[in-house]
């Protein structure tokens, strides 16, 4: 049995990793829950965002916050562009899975074309900085990512909960015809939401660039975990996505600490399978 400090450290790093999961899950959860589009390309976009941050930082020496300022609007437009295609071809929920799968593979190839399959590491002066809380270490960047995830989740929740646009999106997701009967123009809001979702992928990407080592195949490593997070959290539920991310993150890192690191993926995938079988109505 590992020591208490080790377990405590595992919980901390689990929470921090969970923040990234929550951040990735946020956009996916919104587009699935409110637009009925299952967007596998979301992971690819996040990784593209990470590589762009890396590139801007290493070749142009642009600080990460500047990269985010450039990436977020660009991705917003990109997300709207994707949606234009989906809307034009009236892509169904199921077809969206296949089409975005294709998009993800193309983005993966593009990444590999420019940056090769080699591991890339964005070295910054602050990459290894960490806070010390009692016997535990809290890496600053990961903490920042986690806090960003929390802020975005809360902001998104408030947006959906209190703004007229958010209410209209929720209403349209449940009954588009009735929402339209009260004046909601669903098309316009779907574009907005797709842009927001892609922009979130960009933000997640910037943190991923700063925190982890980059490789093109990373896209697929997130797939199961983040889908588990989305489904556990409940579709279109930002707070749920964040909490589910933290839960999965902690359970993974505890598995790593108690058993071995290699067993960790089993946790999230098993949870996903159990939820799908026991509560398919959640989706």
């Amino acid at each position: 049995m590992p020591s208490l400090t080790l377990l405590g450290q595992a919980v901390v790093s689990g929470l921090l990793a969970g923040g990234i999961y929550g951040l990735l899950a946020l956009g996916l959860s919104l587009s699935w829950g409110l637009l009925r589009l299952v967007n596998l390309a979301h992971f690819a976009l996040a990784l593209l965002g990470a590589y762009l941050t890396y590139q801007l930082g290493t070749s142009l020496h642009a600080p990460a916050w500047l990269a985010v300022l450039a990436i977020v609007p660009a991705f917003f437009v990109l997300g709207m562009g994707f949606h234009a295609v989906f809307a034009y071809f009236r892509v169904t929920e199921f077809a969206s899975l296949l089409v975005t799968f294709g998009v993800a593979v193309i983005i993966e190839s593009v990444i590999q074309w420019f940056w090769t399959a080699d591991y890339r590491r964005y070295e910054t002066a602050y990459a290894t900085a960490s806070l010390r809380v009692g016997p535990l270490f809290v890496p600053t960047l990961e903490l920042l990512a986690c806090l960003t995830a929390a802020v975005l989740a809360l902001a998104t929740w408030a947006w959906l909960r209190f703004s007229y646009v958010g209410k209209a999106l929720r209403a349209s997701a449940e009954d588009p015809a009735m929402a339209a009967a009260f004046g909601v123009n669903h098309r316009r809001q779907a574009f907005l939401l797709s842009g927001v979702s892609a922009a979130y992928a960009g933000i997640a990407g910037a943190f991923i660039a700063l925190i982890s080592t980059l490789a093109p195949a990373q896209i697929w490593a997130w797939l199961g975990v983040v889908f588990a997070v989305v489904i556990i959290g409940g579709l279109a539920n930002p707070i749920g996505a964040l909490l589910a991310g933290l839960l999965i993150g902690v359970s993974e890192s505890l598995t790593m600490a108690v058993v071995t690191p290699a067993w960790a993926p089993l946790v999230s995938f098993s949870v996903l399978i159990v939820i799908l079988i026991a509560r398919p109505d959640r989706v």
Binding site: F94, L98, V99, F101, V103, S109, L266, L276
Partner: protein, 579 residues
């Protein structure tokens, strides 16, 4: 079996022999391994389509079965020292058992279709990979098979693998042909279009899906077993990568997942174009091009290349109806006649009590009208009788047989047929095929030829014979309503449940529908007739049962029942009770 189909089968056989002869003559090793890869992809893509193409349950877990096969062969040859060829059937059986095991759990959950089934199978692959990686099966470093002896079927090792691949590909495509022309295939196609209706027409959907999943997984297992020998070094990372599920889906969708030859054509196209882009950056371009092809195909040719080409061909050279001497009179119904009885049937949804102890009886040759306002429970009762819902309490019997608690396909086979208020024809079935499906899974168990002849008879009976080759989207509402009737009759029912067959029809069509229903009754069939159009109810029904809020509030001759005070109140409303 249609002639073009037979021609294709002969062509397949000739091609197989040709490829086999090539190998015996001897090919350069490069071509042998190039063709082996294509054969392997053909087997994988074609087997994937058994469940995912025909029945529409898209699986992203095909890689898991492929991987299971690889590791079975790797383990058995290296640890137990079994001969390579002997491990192949074991690899297949194990993968099939895995598929059946997953299916046995998953297919019990009704909502796990479409994208949820896809996600679930994807997750299963990752779980399997994690288990293999962390147990003695692999343990991390991978398994080497280089010292495992390869039986010398041909001079070179690549030649041997080439032959094995060829044999598997031909066997799989042959199996695809056989399945798609069998009862099983017909049932799977129907499941794809509308699973609930298929079950209601007598297709044992659960068993069929399970069988298709097991067959599909089994072939992938054998392909994995062969491939383990081909790569001779098995690692978790390579084996369970996203490549197999991705390419298999791509190939099938590109070629046409519902056609027996579609996945093979897609596999050939994609595998060769991947080979064209080999090495470094080119491979990347190849993958991106394949992904782009997937997107374009999904958006523009959702049916796939082969079916789209066939449709073009048929439009250019219209197919003549290949028909046995047509029966002038529809086959006899209702043998032996039996009465339908509901006794105290209850059914609730959440807190809403939809049926509160409904009892009614329909004798052979009788038409009983079931009327009542919207939401009074009429369609719920039909759903309970036909087995789509189970009753919470009470009993439904047909003659001596108890129906409650049986699955819907058994109830259909006992002789209960229904129509749907909004017609639900199978989207990819012609009118004739649709009716033939109901005949095939009906109690008479006819041969395919008999089923088609019988179906044609029913189309004539309902006046649809000249629309026999039309697809549902080419039929208008009145034709679709009559198609519902024709396929209900093709199940040779002893009891027929008609759910608002007249709604949406114009007066002339209503008159002809009424005549048809009278003819059906004349054959001794018991008819339960749900209808809002009261003049038709009065004209047709011997008795009427009036439902309100799940309760029978009146029953008897149409005139008496409709005059009962409660009924008038329910229909016209009650004056305000002055407090």
């Amino acid at each position: 079996m249609s002639t073009p189909g037979r021609r294709a089968a002969v062509g397949l056989l000739v091609a197989a022999l040709g490829f086999a002869a090539l190998a015996v003559v001897g090919l350069p090793a490069f071509y042998e391994s190039f063709l082996y890869m294509i054969f392997s992809w053909i087997a994988l893509a074609t087997s994937w389509s058994f469940l995912s193409g025909y029945a529409g349950y898209f699986s992203f877990g095909h890689g898991a079965f492929f991987g299971a096969g690889m590791y079975t062969t790797a383990t058995l040859t290296t640890v137990l020292g079994l001969p390579f060829l002997a491990t192949l059937p074991i690899a297949g059986a194990l993968a099939a058992a895995l598929g059946a095991g997953i299916g046995a759990v998953v297919f019990r959950v009704k909502r796990l279709r479409g994208e949820l089934f896809g996600l679930l199978t994807l997750a299963v692959g990752f779980v399997l990979a994690t288990i293999v990686l962390n147990t003695r099966i692999d343990g991390g470093p991978g398994v080497y098979l280089s010292s495992v002896p390869l039986p010398r079927l041909l001079a070179s090792p690549t030649g041997t693998l080439y032959l094995l691949g060829l044999a598997l590909a031909v066997a799989t495509v042959g199996a695809a042909y056989a399945i798609s022309h069998s009862r099983l295939g017909l049932g799977l196609y129907a499941i794809h279009d509308d699973e609930d209706v298929a079950e209601g027409k007598g297709v044992p959907t659960f068993a069929y899906k399970l069988l298709a999943f097991a067959l599909s997984a089994g072939v992938a297992g054998v392909a994995g077993g062969i491939h383990a020998m081909y790569v001779s070094y098995v690692t978790v990372g390579e084996t369970f990568s996203i490549t197999v599920p991705l390419y298999v889906v791509l190939m099938s969708v590109l070629g046409g997942a519902r056609h027996w030859l579609g996945p093979a054509v897609g596999a050939t196209l994609i595998a060769s174009s991947l080979y064209a882009f080999t090495g470094g950056q080119q491979a990347l371009v190849g993958r991106a091009v394949v992904a782009l092809a997937l997107i374009v195909v999904i958006l523009l040719l959702p049916d796939g290349v082969v079916p789209t080409m066939l449709a073009r061909w048929r439009r250019w050279r219209p197919r003549r109806l290949d028909m046995a001497p047509v029966l002038a009179v529809p086959p006899a119904l209702a043998a032996p006649p039996a009465a339908l009885a509901c006794e105290e049937v209850w059914r609730a949804f959440g807190g809403i009590q939809a049926l509160r102890g409904v009892s009614l009886r329909v004798e052979p040759g009788e038409i009983v009208g079931l009327v009542g306002p919207n939401g009074s429970g009429k369609t719920t009762l039909i759903n309970v009788v036909s087995g789509y819902y189970t009753a919470d309490r009470g009993r439904v019997t047909l003659g001596p047989d108890t129906l409650s608690a049986r699955p819907a396909h058994e109830i259909a086979a006992l002789g209960i047929a229904r129509t749907y208020q909004i017609p639900r024809p199978f989207a990819h079935f012609s009118a004739l095929e649709d009716v033939a499906l109901a005949a095939t899974f009906g109690p008479a168990r006819p041969t395919p030829r008999q089923a088609r002849a019988e179906a044609y008879g029913w189309l004539e009976f309902t006046g649809l014979a000249r629309r026999a080759t039309a697809l549902p989207h080419e039929l208008n509402l009145h034709e679709r309503k009559f198609l519902e009737l024709a396929r209900a009759l093709a199940g040779r029912p002893r009891v027929i449940l008609l759910d608002e067959v007249l709604s949406g029809l114009n007066p002339g069509e209503i008159a002809s529908a009424i005549r048809l229903i009278q003819q059906i009754r004349a054959q001794g069939v018991a008819v339960l007739f749900v209808e809002h159009l009261m003049r038709a109810v009065l004209e047709l029904c011997d008795r009427v049962v009036v439902l309100n809020e799940g309760e029978v509030i009146a029953a008897g001759s149409p005139r008496d029942a409709m005059r009962a005070e409660r009924v008038v109140e329910v229909y016209l409303g009650k004056a305000r009770v002055v407090a």
